[in-house]
């Protein structure tokens, strides 16, 4: 559903930005309040509830035993699925994932996969036959802007919180030992940092109000070392080379700051 933003709000937000200010009083490079809890769903093998401002996502993981892909016989599988629930915003609709939901799934998945957050090779049980498949489900319950940073932060937390049984092979049978649970092997804590461009200015962690009037968006996934593992531009306005290089260098600091919220 197209949501038309009244001209007057557009103007007032833009004017504030021109003066170096934001509607909620934040600095251009300042995140909203962040809260992150883990282990919130007992039936999920790993879970987290993340809030950035009023944006809120509940995330759960479900490891299952499955068959590896033919071209990667000794590598586990990570499946990311995002639901932009109709409860999260008046213009979200029930039904199969739309393009925004698909983009959020794919960018989150890309940041975690390319950032090598989970050591997928350790999830192989029997090469070519059985591996752990980890389903990562994101349930977006309240939408107030900047879903991507919340999605990646919460997903990394839920993965870190995930436990799987130890496995042994005995007499050609896989034995799952639920008395000895082990954490999912975590390699890395890659996180994502998103900027919005409004009237030529780049501001971090856009609120919904800011997203609705922004011209472009740039999300940058970064590893602990500060390497870039994922990027995604959005929005129908262009960015120039200098803007891109500038936000990349800010992102290094800001993802480090985000990382302090992880347990």
């Amino acid at each position: 559903m197209v949501h038309i933003v009244p001209e007057i709000i557009k103007e007032s937000v833009t004017n504030l930005v021109k003066n170096g200010e934001r509607t909620d009083g934040r600095a251009f490079d300042e995140y909203r309040e962040i809260s992150l809890e883990t282990g919130v769903i007992e039936k999920a093998e790993g879970s987290a509830r993340v809030k950035i401002g009023k944006t809120q996502i509940v995330i759960g993981t479900k490891p299952q035993i499955g068959t590896p892909f033919a071209d990667t016989p000794n590598v586990g599988v990570l499946m990311t699925n995002t639901e932009l629930l109709p409860m999260a915003a008046p213009n979200f609709e029930s039904g199969p994932p739309d393009e925004n939901s698909v983009e959020l799934s794919r960018v989150t998945d890309r940041c975690i996969r390319e950032g090598k957050v989970v050591d997928l090779e350790k999830l192989c049980i029997v090469e070519g036959e059985k591996v752990w498949m980890v389903f990562l489900d994101l349930h977006v319950i309240d939408y107030d802007g900047n879903l991507m940073d919340a999605a990646v932060l919460g997903s990394v937390a839920a993965l870190m919180n995930t436990k799987i049984p130890t496995t042994k092979i005995e007499n050609d049978e896989i034995v799952l030992d639920y008395e000895n649970m082990i954490p999912l092997p975590i390699n890395e804590k890659a996180l994502m940092c998103t900027f919005a461009k409004i009237d030529g200015e780049l501001i971090i962690d856009p609120s919904l109000e800011e997203e609705e009037i922004m011209g472009a968006r740039l999300s940058i996934g970064m590893t602990e070392e500060g390497n870039i593992c994922a990027m995604q531009k959005g929005g129908a306005q262009p960015l120039d080379r200098e803007e891109i290089l500038k936000v990349v260098s800010i992102a290094k600091m800001k993802t480090a700051e985000l990382r302090t919220h992880l347990p």
Partner: protein, 242 residues
């Protein structure tokens, strides 16, 4: 290749007390309700009951874009009941299944009698119920939470709607079946009611009950509803004061 699972925690049945979780036959599970937990929705509520964790959100009254559903003299109340993929032991595939379609329909019927729908012709009131974690009795939990969310949204109502199940487990008629009691028990009877008049707005049963047991279970469920309604009122009071 065969997969063997050792040492799971599913040791039910060796209990000595009458109910696996030691509750009295007419005792509810621990209950917690909070109103106004979401920002964007017009109204919302969060409910925990035993191991159930349920969110409800309300949008409306608002314009109904699907013309063929429009009612000239009243609002339609539409419900979507949905389970999160991680809410159950084996991951649930996203999207509606036959069970959730049926529960959505009867939830809508259960809430409608309490709402002054005639005040909002041609519009819709949308109720979304998300089960974040399921441990038996989620449809009742969803209705109870949705009613609080409707109140939080300021929708004018004749009464609250409150839901609770009774049933039969190990030969006894008991209140508020847990997941294990629901699966292994002999009967389940979820109801919803408007506590002021005692009118029943939802009634389902499956299992095996004599007429006498049914009467007993019905009264037990009605009693459960009344207790839960106190928690609904508290949740609204906590949010808005007296």
């Amino acid at each position: 290749m065969i997969i063997i699972i050792t040492n799971t925690n599913l040791n039910t049945g060796t209990e000595t007390s009458a109910r696996a979780d030691k509750r009295a036959f007419d005792e509810l599970r621990n209950l917690k309700i909070e109103a106004g937990v979401l920002e964007r929705a017009d109204g919302s509520a969060y409910l925990e009951m035993g191991g159930n964790k349920v969110l409800a959100a309300v949008y409306g009254p608002r314009e109904l874009f699907v013309r063929r559903l429009m009612q000239p003299n009243r609002a339609v109340l539409r419900c979507k009941y949905n389970m999160a993929p991680f809410s159950v032991d084996d991951r649930k595939r996203p999207g509606p299944d036959r069970r959730s379609v049926e529960i959505s329909k009867i939830t809508s019927d259960a809430l409608s009698p309490a709402v002054f729908l005639e005040k909002f012709p041609r519009s819709t009131i949308d109720v979304y119920i998300e089960v974040l974690e399921a441990e038996g009795g989620t449809r009742c939990a969803g209705i109870t939470a949705a009613s609080v969310a409707l109140a939080d949204a300021g929708i004018p109502m004749r009464d609250m709607v409150v839901a609770c199940a009774a049933g039969k487990s190990d030969g006894n008629v008991v209140l508020d079946l847990s997941e294990v009691e629901d699966k292994e028990g002999e009967a389940d009877l979820p109801i919803a009611m408007m506590p002021r008049t005692g009118e029943i707005t939802l009634l389902q049963m499956d299992g095996d009950l004599t007429e006498e047991e049914f009467g007993k279970a019905l009264d037990l469920a009605i009693g459960g509803c009344k207790k839960i309604n106190e928690e609904q009122k508290k949740a609204i009071k906590n949010r808005y004061g007296e």
